[in-house]
Symmetry: C2
Subunit: 212 residues, 2 copies
Amino acid sequence: MEKKGILIVLSGFSGAGKGTVVKRLLQKYDEYALSISMTTRAPRPGEKDGVEYFFTTREKFEEIIVRNGLIEYALYCGNYYGTPREYVEEKLSAGKNVILEIEIQGALKIKEKFPESLLIFVTPPSVMELKRRLEGRGTEEPEVIARRLARAAEESEGINAYDYIVVNDDLEVCVDEVHRLVDEARRAPVRSQEFIGKIREELKGFAKGADS
Amino acid sequence: MEKKGILIVLSGFSGAGKGTVVKRLLQKYDEYALSISMTTRAPRPGEKDGVEYFFTTREKFEEIIVRNGLIEYALYCGNYYGTPREYVEEKLSAGKNVILEIEIQGALKIKEKFPESLLIFVTPPSVMELKRRLEGRGTEEPEVIARRLARAAEESEGINAYDYIVVNDDLEVCVDEVHRLVDEARRAPVRSQEFIGKIREELKGFAKGADS
């Protein structure tokens, strides 16, 4: 009911296809924008600044932390990862739904700071299918696949913190479902505070008027 | 993702048209069932047993309380009101979404006992419109209307406890929206515990297998 965009956190098991879901969502619907994280880790071969990440130095990253320029950040394996505030706030104000593709720790931090954010967890229809997709890439050693599945087992403990689970079986169905969930999310009180406030005020006005 | 029906609590201001919404929902979609409350108050002229309420005696009502036959009950102005358990459980098991048209106190009790229930609050688009509808009935004294608006002001304080607010401006739009919200509600973790449990178990199985 309000015009501000919704802050969406999209997480999911490695192999759930969340990157593809995000890409298709941006392509198919106008009202989304993708937030790009900032990191101090070195770019891998083929990674471009401003595409996979904004790459920066530790010194600059810490400067940005100090001036409150990130809405969340974390230190993983000696490298910082964070979400730049300016882009997110600008897009939300312009009515775009901003997508953060981050992991559960980041997701929980976002929910704490922004209770009106929407947390969506993308999962394949079954674990067999997840394994098949990881193996199907054909590029990974069995140990890497085993590690990813072990990691997924850990991540699965956090699913209850999400607002919704979406099954990515058919891509188009999944994308449309995410879109519908975002749309319906506007009907939750936490995202309708302006409307609720207005109704309350007007009702109090009438109740007062009736007293006198 | 599970086949059990969803327990839906529908509340809303007097004049929001929730009765009409429920009637149309039952008419339009097969998968809903309406729970009829039980009360010890006397039937008003025109009210029929099993339509507006199940009318019963205080003695029988208390017997039903004792044998845990109600999923919630309350005492208002010396009369009991409650929701019979059997009908609700039977219909939910059969995959029907069961609608309870009750007030906020009852709604909160239901949510406490059944965290997977879905609480929907129906509101007119504005307070002006609410006032217009109450006056439009043409049968009420100004004092009655003023009392209803004062009551609505009180009720509006509880809206945040609901999962969703639906605006009843155009009836068909409103009914379809309720239907969509109920459908999407299945994607919330609280209503997907079977699916989540299965994924977790399977992932643990694979993680174990990889260890050995």
